[in-house]
């Protein structure tokens, strides 16, 4: 049966053709009319796409074209009873040409149109659909009005949608603005237009821009200032002449490229308060002067913090060793400088590298903090082994200098060695940064990326400063004690802070990977110690090249590193970590829960939806609700629509809503009850009776 239907479908689509290209002369933007389903059901809806492919260098226009251009026009010829909704436009882009603003699409784009079919059409009824479209195609130099007539034929059927086509339509849907749900306010004062949009303070922002649909509100070419004050986002821009007379303004607030919220704003008071959001970053800053000040202060704090790190148990031995080696090298002026610079480069590069990785992770939406790499037990285990090896070396178990590496280090003035020592120092130092660096690094995370990296570089520079001073100031170097037998004793003493560091790392490993993980780590350290001891024995017999002994130890260590995994945490994994335990929404999970005969509460939310967040705080994530739900075994599913997941979007639409919030309650075996958009704990507890 399934096969048969598939065969018929394939045949149908082959016969009918599922898309129609414009005939006549070639255009600079090539249109194609495509139906999501060629066999729509009677009484249902079907989405059509007018897919537009501009030639290279050409662009098409948004509904509001901006300073010049025209709105595309769509004229439908439809069978009786079939109606077409207004074409939907994806979030546009900005194109400034010689001082004039154009709201355009420079790449492929698609208008989506919903057709509604009347009920009572017999299956197999042919529905010829014709669209005559007019649009303007422009380059940065010329404009050409273009038009196309496209026809497709649908056949009334069961509404089946081909999976590949559904994927394509979902990608187009993801580019449409999502309805914000709540209304904005606008105010025209002092020649400026100010728009206030309720948006949760936690919503992440990219390149924010307000595209007005209503003409005559703003000067399109004027720069827009974006501010954020708690749950309110404001846009301020030069007003157009008659903006004060407008009664309502429609538009799309782009939160980032290709991501936007459709909103309506009414006249009202809009506060000018709030921190200015940078034009191309997610962070906030206190205006340009404030930024420079913040940057300078944070850089200073980072420098000082880095300097202090030198006396931390994890760093001091390494620094001391470098200083001693410098003293040993006899104070060759150029060699000392080169070594100091290489050491600094090693430290700064590692700090900036870690900082960049951190910013990258945060930009990717993860809530990483400084020393994020220490959240992974494998990294901790690696560090534990590294620090143990350094400590064993300091304790005299084996000799680093007899390493081929060490010999070269001496021979070459140690530039490479100094670089890696610096890198090691910076890497090992990260666990000690916390207490000193909190403020500066906290600032770094909200500054624009370049400024943030400057702060990380400052931390590295501070860490490298003492050695840099030794390298460049011969007088300081002269004050280093003369090399002698005491150095060996000093080295042995330095092994103690290094062992303490190893102990600390073992403890962290235990916290992260449990007792088993810690025991594994210590076992690996033991194997490593034995191997190093054996090497040391060989070294003392004059055979300094036998590093093969390390191979089994390295293999064991590697195996441990690969197997150690974080211990399961008591309460993690809930998407909305709160009082109410919720699972991520999926239609399959919902069906399964209903199958079990459990009542289900489903809620849909998005990071940019303020009313969602308010409801969650005030009504949903409440102890009394959690208790009531637990008593009646009410399952909770949460759907996150922040990124416009089309599956969730379709589900929401099928419940007669265009966006979030949406609250549904499924009684066992019953149809869902759509709850009001403003919830109270009482309303929710009453459900579980």
């Amino acid at each position: 049966m399934k096969m048969l239907r598939f065969a018929i479908m394939t045949l149908l689509s082959l016969l009918l053709g599922t898309q129609a290209h414009a005939q006549a002369q070639p255009t600079h933007i090539k249109p194609a009319l495509i139906a999501e389903s060629v066999v729509p059901a009677a009484g249902g809806i079907v989405t059509l796409a007018l897919a537009m492919k501009p030639d290279r260098g050409w662009h098409g226009y948004w509904k509001n074209p901006g300073d010049a251009g025209i709105t595309p026009e769509f004229n439908w010829t439809l069978p009786a009873g079939v109606t077409a909704a207004d074409a939907e436009y994806p979030v546009p882009h900005r194109l400034m040409l010689a001082g004039l603003m154009n709201y355009v699409y420079e790449g492929d784009y698609a208008h989506l149109i919903t057709l509604t079919l009347p009920a009572g059409l017999a299956k197999g009824t042919k529905l010829p659909i014709q669209l005559a479209a007019d649009w303007l195609a422009c380059t940065d130099q010329v404009c050409v009005p273009e038009s196309g007539t496209m026809a497709i034929e649908l056949v009334v059927g069961d509404g089946t949608i081909d999976a590949g086509r559904k994927g394509q339509f979902d990608r187009w849907r993801a580019l449409l603005p999502r309805p914000l749900g709540s209304e904005g306010r606008f105010e025209v004062a002092g020649g400026n237009f100010r728009l206030g949009v309720p948006l949760p303070a936690s919503a992440t922002l990219g390149e924010v821009y307000f595209f007005p649909l209503t003409d005559g509100a703003i000067d399109y070419a004027a720069p827009q200032t974006v501010r954020r004050d708690g749950d309110m986002l404001t846009i301020e821009v030069k007003a157009a002449g008659a903006a004060g007379e407008l009664k309502v303004i429609d538009g799309v607030l782009a939160l980032d490229k290709d991501k936007g919220l459709a909103l309506k704003a009414l006249p009202g008071k809009v506060s000018a308060a709030g921190a200015i959001v940078g034009p191309a970053d997610t962070g906030r800053m206190e205006g340009a002067g404030g930024l420079a000040g913040t940057l300078l202060a944070s850089f200073g704090a980072a420098l000082l913090g880095g300097l202090l790190l030198n006396i931390m148990p994890c760093v001091f031995p390494i620094l001391s060793l470098k200083a001693l080696s410098l003293a040993r090298s006899g104070g060759h002026e150029t060699a000392a400088r080169r070594e100091a610079l290489a050491y600094t480069a090693g430290i700064v590069l590692v700090c900036v590298g870690l900082g960049a990785a951190l910013l990258g992770l945060r930009a990717g939406g993860s809530a990483a903090g400084w020393a994020f790499q220490l959240q992974d037990p494998r990294v901790i285990l690696f560090l534990l082994l590294l620090v143990s090896a350094v400590a064993f070396n300091l304790a005299g178990l084996f000799d680093f200098a007899s390493l081929g590496f060490g010999n070269r280090l001496a021979a070459q003035g140690g530039t490479t060695g100094a670089f890696w020592t610096g890198a090691l120092a910076a890497f090992v130092a990260t666990p000690c940064t916390g207490p000193f660096m909190g403020v500066a690094l906290g600032a770094a995370l909200v500054l624009p990326p370049i400024a943030a990296l400057t702060i990380f570089a400052g931390l590295g520079l501070g860490l490298a400063l003492p050695f840099l001073a030794l390298g460049f100031i011969p007088a300081l170097r002269k004050r280093l004690p003369k090399p002698g037998a005491w150095m060996e004793r000093f080295q042995r003493i330095l092994s103690i802070p290094m062992f303490v560091t190893a102990l600390g790392l073992a403890w962290i490993l235990g916290r992260q990977a449990g007792v088993d993980g810690m025991a594994m780590g210590l076992a690996a350290a033991l194997v490593l110690g034995l191997a190093l001891w054996w090497i040391g024995r060989r070294q003392s017999h004059g055979d300094g090249r036998n590093w093969l002994a390390l191979a089994p130890a390295a293999a064991v260590a590697m195996a441990m590193i690969l197997t150690v995994s974080p211990a399961p945490k008591a309460s993690a994994g809930a998407p909305a970590a709160g009082i109410l335990a919720a699972e991520p929404f999926s239609e399959a999970r919902l069906a399964a829960l209903q199958q079990e005969g459990r009542p289900v509460f489903v809620y849909f939310t998005a990071d940019w939806c303020l009313s969602c967040k308010v409801n969650e705080k005030a009504a949903i994530q409440r102890q009394e609700v959690a208790d009531a739900f637990a008593a009646r075994r009410v399952a909770v599913l949460v759907g996150d629509w922040t990124d416009g997941d089309p599956v969730i979007g379709r589900f929401i639409e099928s419940h007669g809503r265009s966006g979030v919030p949406l609250y549904l309650f499924y009684k066992p075996g019953g149809a869902p009850e759509i709850l009001p958009q403003v919830l109270t704990p009482e309303r929710l507890t009453a459900l579980a009776v």
């Binding site: 010049a68 025209i70 026009e73 010689a98 007019d134 010329v142 009005p145 003409d215 070419a221």
Partner: protein, 205 residues
């Protein structure tokens, strides 16, 4: 400095630098300007004080301008206005190298071929007048009354398309405003959204 004073040629030396496209307020005194016409004659707005003046932004390469010229709509509007003593200034603010830029002789050829009924065809290759008036599209229209007050700015009509067929059913804002002014009435639609190609200003401001 409410009055905006611009100019080219002789006046260029002390013309205000206008990097941003500013504009004129409807109901306020229209800024004066002085530019060359296609024959090289210096034309100043002030010299037409006492007469109604229509400004029409033009780019012969723009399909929206062509819509109104090939149909004869623009020429008819010009002729009707001129019959009532209105001064009609067609202005080209296209920069050299851009679409629609014309030298004097080329502009005269355009005027002749299109049977334009404008009083003068003005050349504004630096875009000083265009930016001063906030001209954004071609075509874009401005009407200045006998006292020098700007009484209308916007599109030629209310059908923002490139199709000639739409002209018949469109409301011509310029004709409407001029007939209201002739009847001694206030202009009812003082502003509208202009539509068409962007004015091809120079990229360097």
């Amino acid at each position: 400095m409410k009055m905006w004073i611009g100019g080219t040629l002789a006046a260029a030396a002390f013309a205000l630098a206008m990097p941003v496209i500013a504009g004129q307020a409807t109901g306020a005194k229209a800024g004066n300007f002085r530019v060359n016409d296609a024959t090289g004659k210096v034309i100043e707005l002030e010299q037409f004080r006492g007469k109604t003046v229509v400004l029409e932004w033009n780019n012969p390469g723009c399909p929206f301008v062509q819509k109104h010229y090939t149909s004869g709509n623009m020429q008819n509007t010009q002729a009707a206005a001129r019959k009532d003593g209105v001064v009609w200034l067609t202005i080209n603010s296209g920069a050299p190298g851009k679409q629609g830029y014309m030298t004097g002789p080329e502009a005269l050829k355009f005027v002749k071929e299109q049977k334009s009924n404008a009083s003068y065809y003005l050349l504004d290759p630096k875009g000083v007048v265009g930016k001063g008036y906030g001209a954004k599209t071609t075509p874009q229209m401005f009407i200045i009354d006998k006292t020098g007050t700007l009484v209308y700015q916007g599109g030629i009509d209310d059908k923002a398309t490139a199709k000639v067929a739409d002209i018949a059913s469109a409301t011509n804002y310029v004709t409407a405003a001029l007939s209201e002014m002739k009847a001694g009435k206030a202009v009812s639609i003082r502003e509208s959204r202009p539509y068409g190609c962007s004015v091809k200003y120079s990229d360097v401001s």
